[in-house]
Symmetry: C2
Subunit: 195 residues, 2 copies
């Protein structure tokens, strides 16, 4: 009944994600976003409301694509310990890819916006909390299967792994090499889950 959208919404969101991922929210200008998305101002405001609206949708999309992989690995029922190792291994393995060297969009967002925009920051924090819970659940299963030392509670172990993962992503954004990052995490994994 009217003129149809002339661009692919998901494709545009992907392009916007790259810009936000690289520069952060504040430092991503409308002009950069429009160029990357290959649309123009009016279309963006008609489709996403404003810059914040676009960002929120990007965050959601990030969860559905990037985070989904993590959840799948951490939900490994047969070998939960291996699931945990895999999450770190995949992160290291994918480092040479451009996207991975940009760190985690959610971590970056929390770090950038926590003191200035509570709403956006909380949006990202909430999604990160889900990952932490997935770590904790995986630890509980690993302990139940005697794959993980019970000297530490599953709750503590999961939080520790989450903290380690955050450090890993921040350091990777900072340009750390794969070898360097591997040193930062393997000892912890072997201590916790002697293979």
């Amino acid at each position: 009944m009217a003129r149809p959208l002339q661009f692919d919404r998901q494709q545009a969101l992907d392009a916007a994600m790259q810009v936000f991922w690289l520069h952060g929210f504040c430092s991503s200008s409308l002009q950069q976003l429009l160029t990357a998305m290959e649309i123009n101002r009016g279309s963006l405001y008609a489709a996403f409301g404003d810059k914040v609206g676009l960002f929120k949708e990007v965050i959601d999309k990030y969860q559905c694509t990037m985070q989904a992989v993590v959840f799948e690995l951490l939900n490994n029922e047969d070998d939960p310990a291996q699931g945990i190792r895999d999450v770190f291994e995949v992160t290291l393995f994918c480092l040479p890819e451009d996207a991975m060297a940009l760190g985690c969009l959610l971590v970056n967002t929390v770090n950038e916006l926590s003191p200035i925009d509570i709403e956006l920051s909380n949006l990202a924090s909430a999604k990160l909390a889900l990952v932490e819970q997935a770590f904790i659940n995986a630890c509980a299963r690993a302990q139940a299967q005697n794959q993980m030392s019970k000297a530490v509670s599953a709750d503590d172990a999961g939080k520790m792994l989450m903290n380690t993962m955050i450090g890993l992503r921040v350091q990777s954004r900072g340009g750390a090499s794969e070898a360097h990052l591997r040193q930062s995490i393997t000892p912890l994994l072997t201590m916790l889950m002697p293979s």
Copy 2:
């Protein structure tokens, strides 16, 4: 021989540090900086060159004040293991203070500028590398005194602690509670250095 400076340089740098710490480099506007420093544009450009020059001096000042505490604790010769524990303990203890809830200025800087300003990012990275080395040295001493398991090399242990500390600071900026953070790190410390 001429008109003397009408403001205290160190005091002005402290004020600028608070602004950069809170908002990051890009999102700190000249106006915010000038207001906080209680000087005006001309004075800032005469004294510091430009925004980047001011930031560099702030980073140096940060190292001389904030990081100095960390180095001192990590250089504990008599009880290196306690020195390591103290660094984490102090970080947690100081969390209620406003400044500590802003994370680490160097970590924030690397995370913000790594993909867009190599020079400033490297400036911060270099200073963080010194902390990592201090961790490694402390681990070597702790192992020599049989305070730390030798199952992991001092190099690996130090890098792991550094990674954990980075995660800790990022999560603290994100608003995590002291209790939450404590859970994220104590198991690692006790596994590494059974007290």
